[in-house]
């Protein structure tokens, strides 16, 4: 039996209210909100955050491979999945592969993981947008989802894969040439028509493979690049409307490559044991996945659910969103911009820089960064801490001033003066609780400088669960 051993999702903290778009862009917008990645987030950092949750929920599983799918890769030519591999401290022998370029790559990555012999970590992450006022900007969302897949030798299977059908066809409905900042769309009815045919064909084949009928499906979610086609296919499956899951369009938006796994995870968070869960993904063809949940899902706990994260967002002004997306360049502080990080220095400090691993002296003193004379390592990424003192720096260079900064003492030992993120200046107080998050500090000479920041523990945050108390 192979299937899903664990899952994790990540939704960025900021929410763009779509009704604020038209006042600036003159057009577009709509109802509800979409998630917006912070200026210090990209597909890789969000992927790391989702994967951390997935692995935390299945500590006994050691992935033998990493697959990373995105339409918005921080790097080309260089693999992005290796940074995720480093952040999670996966075994050196576990390969890390990107599946980059199209939303459909996410299904390919998942298939490769499911078909492999070893347990695999499959991460899909995306930032979606378009030109100001356009439909993709409003309908898109940012986020990531990670699935740990494998067999029951690797750990308890929570949802067994019972069928997977695909249909493939070449047609140009949505496209983007490399280097272009947005995708273009053919008129809607053409895509709706094609996707309906592809989706239902795969759907019927999957039901046949599994030997079930539509009425037996307990949960259905449909993800796709074409909103009308998604709704049309959901209706045509014959699954009762009250069993069709929310597409998260009004709260999160369409997270592209991340969306199939995000919707699946959000469904598994609601599913009980021995239920039939269906995922239909419409992207340059159709994939239909049927899972049957196991008894193990009843006792499975995830530290940060999709629902928690949807409830925990904070607002972002449209102007700042545009600045973060690079659409509206704003005046930087008149301070020197940081130089590119040294690749060789970074390679000597991979555990510190990517995985936030400090060191421990013989007397138990924790050093952040690791001290050269210490012999023991001390992983700190999952440690929560408290603010000792803090400041707001309106002078220093930052891709998005001001810098909110604090001295953090970690539960169980260790101190680090470090930048806060997803935090408004007036939210900081002495004693406030913080958790660590993997971020991109800045980019110089095309090198993304990845490291960790602290952020306030909020309801739904990964550090909201009981912190270690051995202080």
């Amino acid at each position: 039996m192979r299937g899903i051993l664990s899952w994790g999702t990540y939704l960025p903290y900021r929410r763009l209210d779509r009704s604020t778009i038209a006042a600036v862009a003159g057009t577009g917008g709509g109802k509800g909100t979409r998630t917006a990645a912070s200026y210090d987030e990209d597909a890789t950092t969000m992927g790391v955050e989702a994967a951390r949750v997935a692995l935390r929920s299945a500590p006994e599983v050691e992935p033998g491979a990493v697959w990373f799918a995105t339409v918005s890769p921080p790097y080309l030519d260089k693999t992005n999945a290796t940074a995720i591999h480093a952040a999670l401290r996966l075994p050196r022998t576990a390969p890390a592969y990107d599946a980059v370029g199209a939303v459909h790559s996410a299904l390919g990555a998942l298939r490769a993981g499911v078909d492999g012999a070893a347990p695999a970590l499959v991460v899909a992450s995306d930032l979606r947008g378009g030109l100001p006022g356009g439909p993709d900007e409003a309908a898109g969302g940012d986020g990531a989802a990670a699935l740990v897949v494998g067999g029951d030798d690797d750990g308890p299977v929570l949802a067994e894969l019972v069928a997977w059908s695909s249909t493939t066809e070449e047609f140009v409905d949505r496209w983007r040439t490399p280097g272009d900042s947005r995708s273009k769309l053919w008129e809607e009815r053409f895509g709706e028509n094609h996707y309906s045919g592809l989706g239902i064909e795969a759907w019927e084949d999957a039901l046949k493979q599994a030997g079930v009928v539509a009425d037996q499906v307990d949960h259905l979610v449909v993800a796709g690049t074409h909103e009308r086609a998604v709704n049309a296919v959901a209706k045509k499956t014959g699954v009762a409307a009250d069993r069709v899951g929310d597409t998260l369009a009004s709260t999160v938006g369409n997270t592209g490559a991340a969306h199939p796994a995000l919707l699946l995870a959000s469904t598994l968070e609601k599913a009980g044991p021995n239920q039939l869960v269906a995922l239909i993904a419409l992207a340059d063809g159709a994939d239909v996945l049927l899972f049957r949940t196991t008894d193990a899902i009843a006792s499975h706990r995830t530290t940060r659910t999709v629902a928690d994260q949807i409830a925990a967002g904070g607002p972002i002004a449209y102007g700042k969103y545009l600045a973060w997306r690079g659409v509206l360049p704003v005046e930087p502080p008149r301070r020197p911009e940081p130089g590119r990080p040294s690749s060789s220095a970074a390679a000597r400090a991979t555990d510190w820089k990517y995985a936030f691993v400090g060191s421990e002296a013989g007397d138990g003193t924790v050093h952040l960064p690791p001290a050269p004379l210490d012999t023991d390592t001390r992983p700190m990424a999952d440690a929560a801490g408290s603010i000792v003192t803090y400041t707001v720096d309106r002078l220093a260079y930052s891709p998005s001033p001001p810098i909110v900064f604090a001295v953090v003492d970690f539960d169980g030992g260790g101190r680090l003066p470090i930048e806060l993120t997803d935090t408004d200046p007036d939210e900081v107080t002495i004693g406030a609780r913080v958790e660590m998050t993997f971020r991109r500090l800045y980019t110089a000479d095309g090198i993304h400088n990845y490291f960790w920041k602290a952020r306030l523990v909020r309801a739904g945050g990964a550090g909201a669960e009981a912190p270690t108390t051995d202080k």
Binding site: S342, T389, Y390, R394, R415, P417, N449
Partner: protein, 399 residues
């Protein structure tokens, strides 16, 4: 083993100091020439009489040639030193120890910084070694601003009250600077004006920060027994203490951001070298490193000028005013002078030189003049929890 100091073995016999400010028409070369010329004249010597030179600069040049070339020195040893913002003091320390060792009869310490050529606001620092990209990029102002909330919480001083204290410190130093023709800023600033300034880093406004200025200062040192050949009123070096912190405060949860442990250790060493037991009563004045107003606040306690948790009250009461119990930064401090990194430590010594010798003008004369004869200069570099500290004590009498 032990730190013994060189009390009364070396004397300063000549000094010079440029006006500090935006010298758009001068580079580091011209500033060094101006400061050293004044120092040579003050001691009645020429550049050839000086046997060895120490040059302190953090970012205006590398190697001793930075000084040898503009001065046209012939076959002289010039040592370029750098120790963060205590760079100027490091030059004095090197020159004094060289003379004390007997290696040279006469040495000169020169501090210089040409800061205003970067085209950027504030100090932008020297070239940094390549890193893994994980080091913070905060400004010094923001780092020191973190002292304020920590101090406020520890001693129960409400943040708005503490803001007034910080403004009072800035106002005092602006007042002193307004009386000093060498200062960059010569305008009085009231507490009310200062409190109304927009915040740029934590609770600090631009006026809680040292200015950004170019400048240079120089000192000539000889063996104490030779001092009267050059001046009737030399300053004898009583103590030179220097400590480089190990950065423990940034990693050690027991550090609380209301004190600078390196300064406490450095002061203890300096007072022991000089035989000072009650600095508040024995010192005639102190020039301290008021890079930011919270720095001066904490220094008053770390240097033993007052009890822990009382500096805020003492500053409000005027204890460290020009006419107070122990005048602090009578020349206007970094607040009024700006902070040309390599020059500041030597500039502090220049004020001790003027005040102890009675050369400070009447309106800027310290209240203790004539009754006490020891001055302290304190120069630090780095940040709360991770700094270097320098303290000198000088006096115009031996013993």
């Amino acid at each position: 083993m032990g730190s013994h100091g060189i009390k009364d073995r070396v004397a300063i016999v000549g000094m010079g100091c440029t006006r500090f400010g935006e010298h758009w028409d001068k580079g580091a070369d011209e500033l060094m020439i101006d400061a050293t010329d004044e120092a040579f004249k003050s001691a009645g010597v020429t550049k050839d009489d000086v046997d060895a030179y120490w040059l302190g600069t953090a970012m205006s040049g590398n190697s001793g040639m930075t000084l040898a070339m503009p001065l046209g020195l012939e076959g002289k040893p010039v040592t370029r030193v750098e120790n963060f913002c205590a760079t100027g003091s490091e030059a004095i320390r090197g020159a004094a120890y060289a003379v004390a060792s007997g290696a040279y009869d006469m040495a000169m310490a020169v501090g210089v910084e040409k800061v205003k050529d970067t085209g950027l606001q504030g100090l932008s620092g020297a070239g940094h070694a390549p890193t893994d990209g994980t080091k913070r990029t905060l400004t010094a102002a923001a780092m020191y601003s973190m002292v304020a909330p920590a101090y406020s919480k520890k001693y129960g001083v409400p943040q708005d009250e503490l803001k007034k204290v910080l403004a009072r410190i800035a106002s005092k130093n602006h007042h002193n600077g307004s009386l000093n023709p060498r200062a960059q800023f010569r305008r009085e600033m009231s507490v009310e004006q200062l409190c109304a300034m927009p915040r740029v880093a934590g609770d600090l406004s631009v006026f809680d920060c040292a200015g950004v200025a170019d400048g240079s200062a120089a000192a000539i040192v000889v063996r104490a027994e030779d001092a009267h050949r050059y001046t009737d009123n030399p300053l004898y070096i009583k103590a030179l203490s220097f400590i480089a912190g190990n950065g423990a405060g940034s990693t050690d949860p027991s550090y609380d951001y209301t004190t600078f442990p390196e300064i406490v250790d450095c002061a203890q060493d300096a007072y022991a070298q000089a035989g000072v037991t009650d600095p508040r009563k024995q010192l005639a004045m102190a020039e301290v490193h008021d890079c930011f107003t919270p720095t001066e606040l904490v220094l008053m306690e770390d240097l033993g000028f007052c009890e822990r948790g009382t500096a805020w009250k003492e500053e409000l009461d005027g204890a460290f005013d020009l006419d107070g119990d122990l005048p602090v930064n009578p020349d206007g401090g970094l607040k009024s002078f700006g902070h040309p990194v390599g020059a500041s430590g030597v500039r502090m010594m220049f004020e001790a030189w003027l005040q102890l010798r009675g050369e400070a003008p009447e309106e800027r004369r310290i209240s203790t003049y004539g009754s006490r004869n020891l001055a302290l200069t304190h120069n630090l570099g780095g940040y709360p929890g991770e700094m270097v500290s320098f303290i000198a004590i000088v006096g115009n009498e031996q013993g």
